[in-house]
């Protein structure tokens, strides 16, 4: 990886690549700054176009969006008092008091510093860990790949949401949708229920737009997000100047937050919100980092923002090396690559050896750009944070429906997107987590193909599960399921009389 970095930098500094990175960074900051949107929604809108570009540019664009949003979500948290994404919830607590006394710019500069530190840690982890992980996974055959795909889906099902049983239910629904259409081995059509348009299966791209993004726009009017934003008070906006004392004060908590983000990021289902809560707690433990709530907290801002960015970048490691995404945004990266016919994991490094080093270089360039563009975006983005939610909802729904149509210029994809949006809305009503279903939708047919080829390779189930790595991964899956069910039962007992 490291020896290929000079060539990778040359690829990432190509004007077209830079255009994608800059575009992604600006889009990420804007999406993060607009409560109710977020990086996943923006990536879902762009997905139909990304699958038609070079895979490298697609990853540049998507990773820059994730990085930009990791800072952008602090803008409304500080200026409006509403987090741009759920992971910025504690940035409100730590940063909003600064804006209320006219020092919002100071808080945002600390946030930008924290995000940059987290980003640097995340990129270093990516550069040093992805190659050994890919090398390890070259020992894998069909049974191991199936076990890994099952691990990703089960971890998302067991760890995302309050009830692991519902998580497994969501995963099964996603898997059944993924299996609609021709069987990967024999071509026999299944689960089409007599609908001719389903004979070729359900396209993952429009389904993901509906399931991950359109449903959020159906939910936000029900939750009255627009009204909440209108009621929020805007703080004074001033262009910030860096303060040496603040940066020194923020450096320790930023390192702690980065370490937490690096550990949490690769775990499926944990995500940046968990990382930011743990980091905030750790940043309030040492006496010298503790602050009164009404003061705001420089260590708190630095720790939470560093953890989010470290988490976002480190979650790319298992996504690209093993095909196990850490959160819904990574599911979209996986979907973009698989829609282009690339198989994530060791095959990715073999089929395109320049891709992973170029992603590392792109992440480094994105980090530098985040500092520059993030600083310049502070003032204009503060206005975006208070843009009327209803106009955003209207334009975003129109863009998603049009994007779904544009994917193959087919109304079938529009109905798939809409149907998936309705399913997502119903899942929200039923308290079913959507991420396991989305992940199953992406990995489902690949997992079935690996399972069945693995069964042929190993001559049945006995040979399949007796392979050491497969058995170890299946044991981890069982442990995750048992652990999360036990946790859920304990929580239910505590809640009842």
């Amino acid at each position: 990886m490291l020896e290929n970095l000079p060539d990778a930098f040359a690829a990432a500094l190509h004007p077209r690549a830079m255009m994608f990175i800059v575009l992604g960074m600006v889009a990420g900051i804007v999406l993060g700054a607009m409560p109710g949107l977020g990086p996943t929604m923006g990536m879902a809108i762009l997905l139909p176009f990304v699958v038609q570009t070079d895979p490298q540019y697609g990853i540049f664009l998507f990773s820059a969006i994730i990085i930009g949003a990791g800072f952008g979500n602090a803008l409304p948290a500080v200026f409006v008092g509403i987090p741009g994404t759920p992971s910025a919830l504690l940035t409100v607590a730590a940063g909003r008091p600064f804006a209320l006394r006219g020092e919002g710019g100071r808080a945002l500069l600390v946030s930008l510093f924290g995000a940059s530190v987290g980003q640097v840690f995340g990129v270093l982890a990516f550069l040093f860990l992805i190659t050994p992980l890919v090398a390890f996974s070259t020992q894998f055959l069909f049974p191991e790949f199936f076990a890994l795909e099952l691990l990703g889906m089960t971890a998302a099902a067991a760890l995302m949401g309050r009830n692991p049983v519902k998580g497994v239910g969501a995963m099964l629904i996603g898997l059944l949708i993924a299996l609609v259409g021709p069987d990967p081995v024999t071509g026999q059509p299944r689960l089409t229920f007599g609908v001719d348009d389903l004979d070729q299966g359900i396209e993952a791209v429009p389904a993901l737009i509906g399931l991950l993004a359109l449903r959020e726009l159906f939910i936000s009017p029900a939750l009255g997000v627009g009204a909440k934003l209108k009621d929020a008070r805007r703080g004074t906006i001033r262009l910030p100047r860096p303060r040496k004392d603040d940066l020194i004060e923020a450096s320790g908590p930023a390192a702690v937050g980065s370490a937490v983000g690096l550990v949490i990021g690769p775990l499926p289902g944990a995500g940046p919100t968990t990382a930011s809560f743990i980091s905030y707690r750790l940043a309030s433990l040492p006496r010298r980092w503790r602050r009164r709530p009404e003061e705001g907290s420089i260590p708190g801002i630095a720790a939470t923002d560093a953890s989010q960015n470290a988490c976002g970048t480190s979650s790319l490691i298992p996504t690209l090396a093993l095909g196990i995404p850490g959160d819904p945004a990574d599911v979209l990266i996986l979907a973009a690559l698989t829609a282009q016919g690339l198989i994530v994991g060791p095959q990715l490094a073999q089929s395109d050896p320049t891709l992973l080093p170029a992603v590392g270089a792109g992440l480094l360039i994105s980090t530098v750009l985040m500092i520059v563009i993030g600083y310049l975006a502070i003032w204009p983005s503060a206005f975006l944070a208070s843009a009327p939610q209803r106009f955003i909802t209207f334009v975003a729904i129109m863009a998603m429906i049009t994007g779904a149509y544009a994917y193959r210029q087919s109304m079938v994809d529009v109905w798939v997107c809409l149907g998936a949006g309705l399913l997502g809305y119903a899942m929200w009503w039923a308290d079913l987590p959507v991420a396991p279903a989305a992940l199953a939708l992406v990995l489902g047919s690949m997992a079935e193909s690996d399972l069945r080829r693995g069964l042929i390779l190993t001559d049945g189930f006995g040979g399949f599960v007796s392979r050491p790595i497969t058995a170890a991964i299946l044991a981890v899956i069982a442990a995750i399921l048992v652990g999360s069910i036990a946790r859920s039962v304990t929580a239910a007992r505590r809640r009842s009389v």
Binding site: F49, N163, V165, K166, V168, G169, L172, I173, L176, L179, D183, V185, T186, G187, Q188, R190, L191, F193, L214, L217, F218, I219, P221, A222, L223, G226, A227, Q389, R390, F391, T393, F394, V395, I397, M398, A399, I401, T402, Y405, A406, Q409, M411, W415, L418, G421, L422, A426, W429, A430, D431, L432, E448, L451, R452, L455, F461, A492, R495, S496, V497
Partner: protein, 166 residues
């Protein structure tokens, strides 16, 4: 959002119906020779059985929580330092439902009226649902947004959008 035992029972019933429908649709044997022990219908069948089992578990959980109501929170004393947990406001399903209905109407109109006219109609119908009251805004915002998106898709991305049938 947190769901009630009744909502959980409905969820379980829907999951059961999906699982049963899948099992019924796969009751015949595949008409192609298969090399592996699962065949084309094996995994969908296993998943459908799993979904029925999950539905039963969710129904059992709903029954259990209906039998044992949640513990009342302790009374808040004046010297309590911890902030009480904010209650989730009840969602306004009507707004969400209307947004969905208008979006379905948009998808139906797209092939009939074409992108421009259907999108304008969509904006004019959706913005009042989302709370816009001024007529000028209801007309101007869709016009500007549709023009912007049309430029992006048709010109910058060279995507053929649905047109009014000739």
């Amino acid at each position: 959002m947190r769901s009630s035992p009744r909502a959980n029972l409905i969820t379980a019933a829907v999951m059961f119906l999906i699982g049963a429908a899948v099992l019924v649709s796969l009751r015949e044997t595949p008409d192609v020779p298969v090399e592996d022990p699962l065949g084309p219908y094996g995994l969908p069948r296993a998943l459908a059985v799993g979904l029925v089992a999950v539905a039963a578990l969710i129904a059992a959980q709903a029954w259990w929580s209906a039998l044992r109501p949640p513990r009342r929170p302790p009374p808040v004393t004046e010297d309590a330092t911890a902030e009480p947990e904010a209650e989730e406001p009840a969602p306004a399903y009507l707004h969400g439902g209307l947004t969905i209905a208008v979006t379905v109407g948009y998808a139906l109109l797209l092939p009939v009226l074409g992108f421009v006219a259907a999108s304008l109609a969509f904006g004019i119908a959706l913005l009042p649902v989302l709370g816009t009251r001024r007529l000028r805004t209801i007309l101007a915002v869709p016009a500007i947004a549709v023009a912007g998106l049309w430029l992006v898709f048709a010109y910058a991305l060279d995507v053929g959008l649905p047109t009014f049938p000739r």
